[in-house]
Amino acid sequence: MMRLTCPFCGARELHEFQFHKTAPEPGANPFAAVYERVNRTDISQEYWQHLHGCRAWLYVSRNPSTGEVYQVHLLGTQS
């Protein structure tokens, strides 16, 4: 099972987190942000919440083909 590393809580099991949706492309207009989603196999930028933990909202970049998690950072902070 995939794990995510919460910036506050460390590496935690997936069932502590709740997936929200993939993030829209930066600067997308409202219609594109809702309906015109890319579906890349090599990278997926996603919103997750550490719902059953510290409740932090996270921005996760990962590879949906391999399950590799590239990066997790707090939503609203730039890394």
């Binding site: 099972m1 794990r3 929200h20 219609f31 809702v34 919440q49 909202w57 391999t66 939503l75 609203g76």
Partner: protein, 981 residues
């Protein structure tokens, strides 16, 4: 019921002389403590353990582990049964009751088998091809009765498993020679080690090994290795099989009946995983190779060594490698009579020639370059037919009652082929072995294709030492264990004996699923080429044994039939769980009361004591109605709603979601998230507000109170609080992380009592006291006031969800029950959700039936709110042209034209009674006591939504068509005079 005569005490390293008993097919059998059901029944001379799934052919025990394809039993009695338990793994426990499967009316006489005898064989896809007219469904019930493995339990009362989370540096799967060597290296290096072994004992193939390790016998070495591991703090979990996992998590399961750690699911997070699961012996296909008495050679040896059970009186061994001879010597030494050894190999080493001579001297006929072609004996092996592979015409018949087969060993790659793990073809193993693996995983021993003891000890020891170093365990590991006296098995691939096309229907490849060579040939001729497709079409390897004994054999025969090398055909992948688990084990702790939370309000106990009938609403338990008010929900709801409009009533509204938004930027934050502005609200006032999803659909509604300049309380629908909390937090993180917004869920901090009805104000004043008189009289609609009552905080909000003069009392828990009881004493009757629904539909108020995720604010008649022009989340989407199209449904009211017909919720709205094009649907409907007729809220296409339009509410499911007339959604008191009284 007769107790079977006790047999003389057997000696084996797993059994003691203590006697136990169990039931099989209604009969008592004695056994010795430590026996499995398979060993005990074999000791009693039982050969028939069940019938096969498709042809109902008699079947006996074939193996001695989870690879058992035939001897699957149902344990227990309905409704508490576990089907498909492998008899060789089923430990005998007190009061154990077992039954054979796939037979009716009895194991000896099976009706289906008799039918089969007349009709010939059912090829691959037979059911799907034959039962097509008029449709598969016509036959499904009957076929399901005849097909399938075992029976499902009638009740969910198997105890939930224990679930244990384990983390370690090195996990070793398998405690055979390779696994123990790896565990020793890791433990010596200082790594935290966990070993999972599916058997109740360590050692694996070393159980029979005559070679020595570190100058000790193999079994002595196992004991000393285990002792060293124990001293080093390593954990060895017996009876625990690795059954799945992904992304670095490994799931292991200790089966029920396994002892101290009975039915435990381990979720293991290792840094490194050493796969040393070994290999499992496979059979060879020949005609009628499924008869009871045909058994894997290794299984026969295990029954003898572990339980002292002789699987036959006259044995023949059949195989394609050197280990046949060592086995024959051991079986002979134990006093078993061996008639012959049939070795498919013509050319053998000098050592083997010597062994043959020695065995011949003992009276064993050794036939090199021969193969078993056919078995005779319908209910068990009586005689075999052997052919000379060089001269196929010559037949030799040998009388025997057990034929022990060994076609080689198939590496257990289940765990190695997931998460990107690769395999390769290895000729010396006659099959596929693990190669490239993700960096956290490595395969050793037979899994990696190494069968020679001296080599695999060194290889796996070194591999584990290296892995341990990579995770920082740098201790001195010393030298690897040294094995001596073992040789490679010199296997020469041999998959099936020659036979006629007709006989291919009786050459079984997968015993559990009755897949024959004929099925494989048929699948190929019908265009199934890929081994994964062939698996699904023929059911090769899909059963509980997951292709352990037949998967590779099937692939090899496909290769032969296609004329392709096996390396190109490949072998199908096993899905987890690799070994059967009950659904209860898979669910883990997520079952029963632990599946989800149940929340009860502070008034729950009072409600329960006063005849409330509860209804789950999301995770809450809410009062539907009170028994005193009617015999059922319908009559009680009408009584309670009538009472509210006539006098007054109280409702437990504690489930209302309450989220506090505070901070310097709170008002601006709410302006962004709600369709209308919160910032324009005065302190002490409240406002009905709606929020939208990003796509413009209405998400939720509620009243927002401004408690202080920088403090708001947003109420949400019951059961929506968690979701709305996440929604608020998401936008705060996304857009407001550098500003001051604090969000707190106070849903469970406040109890809520709704007081509604024309007499509500007067009753409240009587209860709260004269001090509240002026305060309450001064409250206009949507005002609120905060003070204290009986020492605790009480907030009174004048707001209505019923259309009556009404107040929401938000109070601290300590005063909830006294306040409620005082209100009852003041003459207010409690009401429940049934009445609430009547009152709100009469007044045209919305719940999730209307805010269903497909409705924009305009659809719900909130054009006025939209026109205020607040730029909130989702607003940009409201201008889309599709939302203004004339066919787009919007909210209306409906009444039956005849004033008495029932309008059903969910009915489709059409123009005529014959029309099948829906203009919309009924979202809510109630019988309105205020109007004396059924009324509804519905969505109807805008161009047909003018009040007065006559339409039809069609409900084909219940067979009703009702003429309805469109009205305003507000059925009662459209000018809100009652509410503002």
């Amino acid at each position: 019921m007769t107790l079977r005569r006790a047999l003389s005490t057997r000696r084996g390293h797993r059994v003691t002389s203590q006697s136990v008993s169990f039931q099989f097919d209604g009969r008592e059998y004695t056994a010795q403590a430590g026996d499995t059901v398979a060993s005990a029944l074999l000791a009693h001379g039982v050969r028939l353990f069940g019938r096969s799934v498709k042809y109902r052919r008699p079947r006996g025990v074939f193996a001695a582990g989870p690879e058992e394809p035939n001897a699957l039993l149902t344990v227990g009695t309905q409704p508490c049964v576990i089907p498909n338990v492998s008899a060789p793994q089923l430990a005998i426990t007190p009061q154990l009751i077992t039954r054979s499967q796939n037979r009716w009316p009895s194991l000896r006489v099976d009706l289906h088998a008799l039918l089969q005898a007349g009709s010939g064989f059912l090829g691959a896809g037979f059911y799907y091809k034959t039962f097509m007219w008029p449709s598969w469904r016509t036959y499904e019930t009957m076929i399901r009765h005849l097909a399938g493995l075992g029976e499902a339990p009638g009740a969910a009362d198997i105890a939930p498993p224990h679930v244990e989370y384990v983390s370690c540096d090195v996990l070793v799967g398998g405690a055979g020679a390779a696994g123990l060597a790896a565990a020793l290296a890791a433990a010596r290096a200082g790594a935290r080690v966990v070993v999972c072994e599916r058997e109740p004992q360590a050692g694996g193939e070393l159980e029979f090994e005559t070679a020595t390790i570190d100058e000790q016998s193999a079994t002595e070495w196992v004991s000393s290795a285990l002792a060293e591991l124990a001293r080093a703090g390593a954990r060895v979990l017996y009876h625990t099989a690795i059954v799945g996992g992904s992304d670095g998590l490994v799931i292991a399961h200790a089966e029920p009946g396994g002892g101290a750690k009975d039915n435990t699911v381990y979720r293991i997070r290792p840094q490194k995983f050493v796969m040393a699961m070994g290999a499992v012996e496979r059979g060879i296909a020949f005609v009628d190779n499924d008869r009871p008495g045909v058994m894997l050679l290794g299984a026969a040896e295990r029954y003898l060594a572990r339980y002292g059970v002789a699987v036959g009186k006259e044995l023949v061994l059949f195989g394609n490698h050197d280990r046949l001879y060592a086995s024959a010597q051991r079986l002979h030494a134990a006093g078993m009579r061996i008639r012959a050894i049939i070795d498919t190999r013509g050319d053998v080493s000098a050592v083997t020639i010597g062994l043959r001579a020695r065995l011949t001297g003992m009276g064993v006929e050794c036939l090199g370059g021969h193969a078993v072609a056919e078995v005779h004996g319908a209910h068990g092996v009586r005689r075999i037919c052997v052919v000379d592979l060089q001269a196929p015409g010559t037949k030799i018949f040998i009388e025997c009652d057990a034929l022990l087969v060994s076609g080689g060993w198939t590496p257990m790659l289940q765990a190695a082929l997931h998460d990107g793990g690769q395999r390769e073809f290895a000729a010396q193993a006659g099959g596929f072995v693990a190669n490239a693996q993700p960096e956290w995983r490595t395969a050793v021993g037979a899994c990696a294709g190494t069968f020679e003891l001296s080599v695999l000890l060194t290889e796996s020891f070194r591999a584990a030492a290296q892995l341990s170093q990579s995770v920082g365990a740098m201790g001195v590991v010393g030298r690897a264990p040294v094995g001596r006296g073992d040789t490679a098995p010199q296997l020469q691939a041999f998959w099936r004996s020659a036979c006629t096309r007709a006989q291919e229907k009786r050459q079984f490849v997968d015993l559990q699923n009755d897949v024959t060579v004929a099925d494989l040939r048929l699948a190929l001729s019908e265009g199934f080429v890929d081994i994964e497709h062939i698996k699904r079409y023929t059911t090769l390897g899909i059963g509980t044994e997951q292709g352990r004994t037949g998967g590779l054999l099937g692939a090899a025969i496909v290769a032969e039939l296609k004329g392709e090398p096996l390396s190109r055909v490949g072998v199908s992948r096993t899905r987890p769980p690799y070994q059967p688990m009950t659904l209860s084990s898979l669910a883990g702790l997520n079952q029963g009361d632990a599946l989800r939370v149940t929340r009860r309000t502070p008034l729950h106990a009072w409600n329960q004591a006063n005849g409330a009938v509860f209804e789950p609403a999301e995770y809450w338990l809410r009062t539907r109605y009170y028994r005193a008010n009617g015999t059922d929900a319908f009559t009680a709801g009408i009584q309670e709603a009538t009472q509210v409009r006539a006098h007054g009533g109280i409702l437990d509204g504690s489930t209302l979601g309450k989220i506090e938004i505070a901070g310097a930027d709170a008002a601006a934050f709410l302006d962004r998230l709600y369709l209308t502005k919160a910032s324009t609200m005065k302190v002490g006032r409240s406002k009905y507000m709606v929020n939208l999803r990003e796509d413009g659909m209405v998400l939720d509604d509620g009243i927002v109170l401004r408690l202080a300049p920088n403090r708001f309380l947003a109420t949400t629908g019951s059961g929506h609080a968690e979701h709305m909390l996440s929604h608020f937090e998401h936008y705060r993180a996304l857009e407001w992380s550098h500003r001051q917004v604090a969000i707190t869920n106070l849903t469970e901090a406040w109890a809520v009592i709704v007081v509604a009805g024309p007499e509500s104000r007067a009753a409240l004043i009587r209860v709260l006291g004269e001090a509240w008189h002026a305060r309450l009289s001064g409250l206009t609609h949507m005002d609120f006031s905060v003070s204290r009552w009986n020492g605790q905080t009480l907030r009174v909000l004048r707001a209505s969800f019923s259309g009556e003069l009404a107040f929401e009392l938000h109070c601290q828990h300590g005063i909830a029950v006294p306040l409620w009881e005082a209100l009852v004493a003041a003459g207010l009757q409690p009401y429940g959700l049934e009445a609430l629904d009547i009152l709100r539909v009469e007044k045209g108020y919305l719940v999730s039936s209307e805010m269903n995720g497909e409705a924009t604010p305009q659809d719900l008649g909130m054009d006025g709110l939209v026109n205020l022009g607040n730029e909130c989340v989702g607003r940009a989407m409201l201008g889309r042209p599709a939302f203004a199209e004339p066919q787009r449904p919007r909210l209306v009211g409906l009444r039956a034209c005849d004033g008495k017909s029932v309008i059903q919720g969910g009915a489709q709205i059409t123009l005529t009674t014959t029309d099948t094009h829906a203009l919309g649907h009924v979202s809510s409907s109630v019988y309105s006591p205020a109007l004396g007729q059924w009324i509804a809220l519905a969505f109807v296409a805008r161009d047909r939504a003018a009040p007065g339009t006559v339409l039809v509410a069609r409900d084909p499911l219940r067979g009703t068509d009702v003429d309805v007339v469109v009205t305003s959604p507000v059925h009662v008191d459209s000018s809100s005079e009652r509410m503002k009284a």
